[in-house]
């Protein structure tokens, strides 16, 4: 007998899915909510601090949740000790200040919080981030913002390779240099590199935009220079100002990289046609 779960009791397995998914819109005037149902009501002016030195990553994440449930809208974490998987899965508005460095997969899967990290971060910081802001005051490791879907991810220093790999939205800003293969398989979103960019920038990108203030070592397959518009310049000026950053030679002199869109119908091509493209 198949395992029955709570979802079966709620009748969630009876719907027959067919055709394209399309939800009917609800009545847009029904009620005005600005946070997710079930999110904790917090006040940015209510502040709490805790020391993470003797806590495991799971205990740290539970501690943040506990403080949120008590209405704290500003939380300060001291001594994070470069632990991995910290400050993940926060689906709430929150100001989180981390006084130190994080290890791998810090701030992953977040939806809403504003996080400032006063140290460095390891691999895959803010992986799969959905919304909010994450600011790193020093350097970041590789796969920074992997598969990010939304929000602003800012590193004031340098970042490693494969930044924004498979990114599906959001904005990644780097104040310094970036490693090889940044924007690999990028699908949408914006990447701003104020310093130099490494090899194979934007390799196999499907869509999205990369702005570079320094030199580009070389471009990847199907990444091509695009034309900078007035709207791009306005957006860049505004965004960089938010984080106290400036393009070294002005935003108008930044290089814009977009998808050449030769790979869009890649699956439909014959082998000979694929060879022509690549």
């Amino acid at each position: 007998m198949a395992l029955r779960t709570k979802s079966h009791d709620m009748g969630m397995h009876t719907e027959r899915l067919s055709g394209r998914t399309q939800q009917r819109f609800f009545e847009p005037d029904e009620e005005e909510n600005f946070t997710y149902p079930g999110a904790f009501e917090v006040d940015f002016n209510k502040r709490a601090e805790f020391d993470a030195a003797k806590l495991t990553p799971t205990e740290i994440n539970h501690k943040i949740r506990e403080l949120l449930s008590k209405g704290n809208g500003t939380i300060v974490m001291k001594n994070p000790g470069a632990k991995h998987g910290v400050a993940v899965g926060i689906l709430n508005k929150l100001n989180l200040i981390i006084e130190g460095s994080l290890g791998y997969f810090g701030c992953g899967l977040i939806d809403g919080p504003n996080i400032r990290i006063k140290g460095r971060v390891g691999w895959s910081c803010a992986e799969n981030m959905l919304a909010g802001t994450v600011i790193i005051e020093k350097n970041a490791g590789s796969t920074f913002g992997a598969a990010i879907r939304g929000g602003d991810l800012v590193c004031m220093g340098d970042v490693g390779a494969r930044m924004g790999i498979d990114m599906k939205g959001g904005t990644i800003i780097v104040g310094g240099r970036a490693g090889a293969f940044c924007g690999f398989m990028m699908q949408r979103g914006r990447m701003v590199i104020l310093g130099d960019a490494g090899k194979n920038l934007g390799d196999s990108m499907y869509d999205g935009t990369i702005y570079v203030g320094g030199k580009i070592e070389d471009l990847g397959v199907d990444a091509v220079p695009g034309e900078m518009t007035e709207l791009d310049c306005q957006w860049l000026e505004r965004k960089l100002k938010l984080y106290g950053l400036k393009a070294p030679n002005g935003v108008k002199n930044m290089t814009k990289i977009v998808a050449g869109r030769q790979l869009w119908n890649y699956d439909n091509l014959e082998p000979a046609e694929k060879k022509l493209i690549l």
Binding site: S7, E32, A131, R190, D218, V224
Partner: protein, 144 residues
């Protein structure tokens, strides 16, 4: 296989030609190129995913939302645009992985920037609604 800087760009020069904002409402299939006609399928998004928002067009609802969340700009909503599915205006909700159709009684502005602002507002209202499908999923699968 890398392409050197200075290689001939394949992106359109001089900006894209101005497209009819109602293109996908008038012709839901939206098949343009020979390749699209050959395979009978539209290639790519039905809106410009790279269109950055014009902040002079923010609605009062969106301004209030940004203030509550403590953000200085549209944040994740910069990636939300009004799309077009099966001849109807719609907005994609990543939380249900599906399109949410815009009610027929909402009059669509004549430009994509204002349409995008409406899409952002409607999406917030939908996602934060107690009737959103995620509410039931949360009840069914929440672990802690």
């Amino acid at each position: 296989m890398a392409k050197p800087i200075g290689a001939k760009p394949t992106a359109p020069k001089g900006g894209k030609p101005k497209e009819d904002v109602n293109k996908f409402l008038k012709s839901p299939s939206g098949l343009d190129s020979a390749r699209e006609k050959e395979i009978g399928q539209h290639i790519g998004y039905r809106y410009d995913v790279n269109l950055v928002p014009d902040y002079t067009r923010l609605t009062p609802f969106l301004k209030k939302y940004l203030e509550i969340m403590g953000w200085d700009d549209l944040n994740w909503l910069e990636d939300v645009h009004m799309g077009y599915e099966e001849g109807r205006a719609a907005v994609f909700d990543r939380n249900i992985n599906g399109w949410v159709t815009v009610p027929k009684n909402i009059k669509l502005p004549d430009n994509q920037q204002d349409r995008d602002m409406i899409a952002r507002e409607l999406l917030i209202k939908f996602q934060m609604s107690k009737r959103h499908p995620m509410v039931d999923l949360n009840k069914a699968y929440r672990k802690f």
